[in-house]
């Protein structure tokens, strides 16, 4: 067996072999926010003018900041749109360090996030990657206002924005690090929303009733996204040269990078709000062609642009192709784009079971995870309206909305009501991550103007899994862009290494593979973005492994499809 066995859980294996049944709805997740000491509340800092940036944030990141093997939490904080903060501490992004006992300690100051300038912008989203290739994860935090790049210097984060050439000043939202040109270092894509400013602010709502509301993005113009090439740790904006649309006709929110079209290089999908999504098909050399319409990813199946917010990229239907799920406004479905091969995606929301149940809700964060470790990916979505006084305009709609869990039964997704012990929320960011290291993925979410919540997965306690971390050599050091195919008897499970996505958020670069009752993975293939395909296995249930990219030979470069074991 290749790789390093980090840990194995005999209890998990024993329970799997005993064939413990599925957990009841009540036991699927435990709200452990308080118990774990995660006390973060997102601040809206309302001006009373319904300034748009107030209601759009914010995201979160779950990653191992200091290399101690435990996952930490980073929450993006809001700030006043107009004027500075009276108390700069109130607008600090918050960092929670995981202790050995699994609880969290607020450690923002210690990790370098404690003292923001009073006039820092409104925090929106976050993404991370080993941007300087020093083996740890650096952060990029988007703002309404100048963005901040935090370089990770051995566990202390330093604002190195100016020194690396970053700091986009328009209203940035989603972002992602990814290796666009195959040189092993990470480029950065930053989506922008609209050209709102306090100076060009519009009055939306009902002026006669003096009832103001947050504006629809149609009221404002779009702002062009930015693409930065990584030149040895310094970033250069080459957006236009690389093919990123300068015409600014997209109002971006969520962003995800992956090899969507299966041609062996990284592409970028931008979830645009009320305008056609962008699909930038990469050429492997750092240039892109926008082809969302041609790929079927720009619009829903009826040819309509939707208010796209969050994005998930995963093989949701188990055919070893990367599918896409975008979350949307109420009265629109969350739209499931099934990858039909050859770079063509078709809207299969109805058939998937993910469409109709989403119609009443405004979807934001979305996460894919195998809740019960049965080998199928399930979907969690957090919802929450954009207009905080929506009830005054429409008595049937609510600002706070329920989160949803959809379980895949092998054919379609079915909503599992009340599976998430949350109650109505103003959901925004959502990340799946194995916080407690028990082999199943938990959920962390943020709210707009409310407390973050941590849900520990209890359904997975009775299943078995294998957890993988990937380390690239020719590929990016954190394995970004890689995916694996695990073979278990007749089953082949494709799993992506998580990167930025959801809504302005990013989960840890770990792959958790539920074994669905199998005692082991018979064989495992790792598809590195370099083209290298590594094979491993068998791998016993309960293993946590770090797999390093082999350098000796290049198996089947260009052959991107999974093969039989």
């Amino acid at each position: 067996m290749t790789g390093t066995a980090v840990r194995s859980s005999g209890l998990v294996l024993l329970l799997a072999l005993l064939g413990a049944g599925p957990a009841s709805a009540e036991a699927l997740f435990e709200d452990a926010t308080e118990r774990l000491g995660v006390r973060f509340t997102h601040g809206v800092f309302p001006s009373g003018q319904k300034d748009m940036p107030e209601n759009m944030g914010a995201g979160l990141a779950v990653f191992d900041a200091d290399g101690d093997g435990r996952l930490d939490l980073f929450f993006v904080q809001g700030a006043p749109v107009r004027g500075g903060a009276e108390d700069p501490a109130s607008i600090a992004h918050r960092f929670f360090h995981q202790r050995p006992d699994g609880t969290f300690a607020e450690a923002s100051e210690r990790f370098g996030f404690g003292s923001p300038s009073a006039d820092r912008g409104v925090g929106m989203g976050v993404c991370f990657g080993d941007a300087d290739r020093d083996g740890d994860l650096d952060l990029y935090v988007t703002h309404y206002g100048p963005d901040i790049y935090y370089r990770n210097d051995d566990g202390r984060f330093v604002d190195a924005t100016a020194s690396v050439g970053l700091g986009k000043a328009s209203w940035s939202v989603g972002c992602t690090f990814f290796d666009a040109d195959g040189d092993g270092d990470l480029e950065l894509y930053v989506a922008s929303y609209v050209d709102f400013s306090a100076e060009n602010h519009k009055y939306c709502g009902d002026a006669k009733r003096n009832l103001r509301a947050y504006c629809h993005p149609d009221i404002y113009g779009a702002v062009a996204d930015a693409y930065y090439r990584n030149d040895g740790g310094r970033f250069v904006d080459i957006s236009e040269k690389a093919g990123i649309k300068p015409s600014a006709d997209g109002k971006g929110l969520g962003v995800a990078a992956a090899d969507f079209d299966g041609d062996g290089d990284q592409d970028v999908l931008v979830a645009n709000d009320s305008t056609m999504n962008f699909f930038y098909a990469g050429d492997g050399a750092g240039r892109f062609e926008e082809s969302a319409l041609f790929a079927g990813l720009g619009l829903n199946g009826a040819g309509a642009a939707e208010a796209s917010m969050g994005v998930a990229a995963a093989d949701l239907d188990g055919d070893q192709r990367l599918d896409v799920l975008l979350t949307h406004l109420d009265l629109e479905t969350n739209t499931f784009y099934r990858n039909g091969g050859d770079g063509l995606f078709l809207d299969r929301s109805d058939v998937s079971g993910l469409g109709a149940p989403s119609l009443p809700w405004v979807g934001f964060g979305v996460a894919t995870l195998d809740v019960e470790l049965d080998g199928d990916l399930d979907v969690a979505v957090v919802n929450g309206h954009i207009i905080d006084n929506i009830e005054r305009f429409d008595a049937e709609r609510r600002h706070r909305q329920p989160a949803q869990l959809f379980r895949y039964d092998g054919k379609r997704f079915r909503e599992f009501p009340d599976a998430l012990p949350l109650g109505p929320l103003v959901g925004r960011g959502l990340v799946a991550a194995d916080l407690d290291g028990d082999g199943d993925e938990d959920l962390v979410l943020t709210q707009n103007g409310g407390p973050a919540r941590v849900l520990l997965n209890r359904a997975g306690d009775s299943g078995a899994s294998v957890t993988l971390r990937l380390t690239g050599r020719k590929s990016a050091s954190d394995g970004f862009g890689a995916y694996v195919v695990a073979y278990l008897g007749e089953r082949a499970l494709r799993r992506e290494l998580p990167m930025a996505g959801s809504y302005l958020s990013q989960g840890p670069p770990e792959i958790v593979i539920g074994l669905g009752g199998a005692a082991r993975i018979d064989s495992l293939e790792v598809y590195w973005p370099s083209g290298q395909i590594d094979r491993h296995g068998p791998i016993a249930a309960g293993e946590r492994m770090e797999l390093k990219e082999k350098l000796a030979r290049k198996n089947g470069a260009g052959d991107r499809g999974p093969s039989a074991p």
């Binding site: 149609d218 009826a302 109805d350 429409d394």
Partner: protein, 531 residues
């Protein structure tokens, strides 16, 4: 040339109305519009089918047949009954001038024959003058004993001029009078759906289907609405049950086919039912072709592409059809064909999207103008409006607001021109007609004011502001009986001190002292303690 109808008939008030205001909260629907269409596009069958569900009542022609029999039996060849029969025959033959002359003659002979008014309404409708048709229809409604056909005619006219709220009230009255008539439910459901009230539409049709007015069409429309709401399971069950009662009903087969489409495992069955629905004449062939193509689309499917081609032929201006054709061709590797179809899609959809975006931006800008005006800067607000009008000359809301601001600046002639422009752009909006009536009445053009207010009341007879103003105008003209009737309705709908006072004065002038005193008492109560 038709002579204009007289005052509107008295009718029961159905509900209190919000004040007239084209920018009221009800007209500001946050974060809807293009999004709603996005969903509609996916489930757009209901709209097509429901439009077809609207059965033309041919109110006058139907009654004219009875009149013909009646006249024949009575040996009457010159009276009103015979003229009505002539009008009905002419209408059926498409001779609108002869029909108009015959119905007008019947009305001249006997103004109480409501069917003559309805005949004139149908003639006006066919000539395209919907507001005049509405006025005639309202006149006829008060004069016919069987009100159902007249109400259905009025509702149809209200829908055609884009007055859904008013149509819903008319249809509610129809259901009250004729609860067993499916059209009262079907049409109302269609309207409710179009104003985003799908749940209410479903409840209404469920009430009809479960006993009040069961019919295959009711079940079919209910199924389509359930699909639109995303409840494919309920739609499937409904269709299966209903098909047992009404086998081979095309609309029910369509519902079943669409419901099965949502189940990835039963696409073949879905195709079978959709094809059956087509054979049996289900409405909306173009949309069915799209659904069939969708059902067969997987990788490259020549059959799917054929269906999409057919849909494009049938619905050449539907962006969705071109979009699906483009993706179908793309799946089969026809990149050139795909690009052409997608380019056409972009051309068609950008016009629609552009209009949506413009309207939303204008809505926001109007708020700013109102705020400027509310701050007392009328000149500034007018200046802002002028800029907006330059780029949005087809938006009636701008002209309505400009009319109000000009009027408040004492520029009555310009104000009138502005609200008349608003009427041209959106004839169904009561406010434009009301403002014209208001402006004209202030200039003592009582005849013109009365005509404008009659148009407003034809669209919606239950607007208290309009009723009050019309009553005052008519009282000034000396027709105190009609004024009293209108004040009475206004007082019922929206009682306030000034209405009671005006009503009391009219009643006193008519010598109806006791009633006048009662109104005075109400006036005192509403006015509160004397200063």
């Amino acid at each position: 040339m038709l002579r204009r109808p007289g005052p509107c008939s008295k009718r029961q008030p159905l509900a209190r109305r919000p004040p007239l205001d084209s920018h009221s909260a009800s007209s500001w629907s946050p974060w809807r519009g293009p999004h709603r269409r996005a969903w509609r596009g996916r489930h757009g069958f209901a709209a097509l089918a429901l439009l077809l569900a609207f059965v033309s009542p041919l109110a006058a022609s139907r009654t004219a047949e009875d009149a013909a029999s009646e006249a024949s039996a009575a040996g009457d060849s010159e009276g009103a009954t015979a003229r009505i029969a002539d009008g009905g025959r002419a209408l059926a033959a498409g001779d609108l001038e002869a029909a108009a002359a015959a119905f007008q003659a019947a009305r001249d002979l006997d103004a109480s024959r409501g069917v003559a008014w309805l005949g004139l309404a149908e003639v006006a409708e066919r000539k395209g003058d919907l507001l005049e048709a509405l006025e005639w229809a309202r006149g006829g409604l008060g004069r016919v004993s069987d009100k159902a056909p007249a109400l259905l005619l009025i509702a149809r006219l209200q829908i055609r001029i884009g007055a859904p709220r008013e149509a819903l009230e008319t249809l509610a009255e129809l259901r009250r009078l004729r609860p067993e008539e499916p059209a009262g439910y079907l049409t109302a459901a269609a309207v409710l759906r179009d104003v985003e009230r799908v749940d209410e539409a479903i409840s209404l049709l469920q009430r009809a289907a479960s006993g009040a007015a069961p019919s295959p069409r009711v079940s079919g429309q209910l199924g389509l609405l359930l699909l639109e709401k995303g409840d494919a399971d309920a739609a499937r069950e409904l269709a299966l049950t209903s098909l047992e009662a009404w086998p081979e009903h095309a609309e029910l087969e369509l519902v079943l086919g669409l419901a099965l489409l949502a189940d990835g495992e039963r696409r073949a069955e879905a195709v079978t039912w959709l094809e059956r629905a087509l054979r049996h004449g289900a409405p909306g062939e173009g949309k069915i072709q799209l659904a069939l193509g969708e059902a067969k689309l997987e990788g490259c499917s020549e059959e799917a592409v054929e269906h999409f081609h057919r849909a494009v032929e049938l619905l050449p201006n539907l962006p969705e059809a071109h979009y699906k054709l483009g993706l179908g061709l793309r799946g089969c590797g026809d990149a050139e064909g795909a690009r052409a179809a997608l380019l056409r899609f972009r051309e068609l959809s950008s016009a629609v999207d552009g209009a949506d975006h413009r309207r939303r931006r204008v809505g926001s800008a109007l708020n700013e103008v109102q705020r400027t005006a509310a701050a007392g800067d009328i000149a500034g607000a007018l200046s802002q409006l002028e800029t907006l009008v330059e780029d949005n000359s087809a938006d009636d809301r701008l002209f309505t607001l400009r009319g109000k601001l000009l009027f408040s600046s004492g520029k009555t002639a310009e104000a009138l021109a502005s609200v008349r422009r608003a009427q041209e752009l959106m004839p169904s909006r009561v406010e434009g007609h009301y403002l014209e009536g208001l402006f004209l009445s202030q200039g003592r053009d009582l005849g013109g004011a009365r005509a404008a207010l009659s148009r407003a009341l034809a669209i919606d007879p239950d607007r208290p502001e309009v009723l009050k103003l019309q009553a005052a105008v008519i009282a000034e003209q000396g027709d105190l009986e009609t004024a009293a009737e209108l004040f009475s309705r206004a007082a019922d709908l929206a009682p306030d001190a000034r209405v009671h006072l005006a009503y009391a004065r009219v009643l006193a002038a008519l010598g109806r002292q006791a009633e006048s005193e009662a109104q005075m008492r109400l006036y005192e109560e509403r006015r509160g303690a004397p200063r």
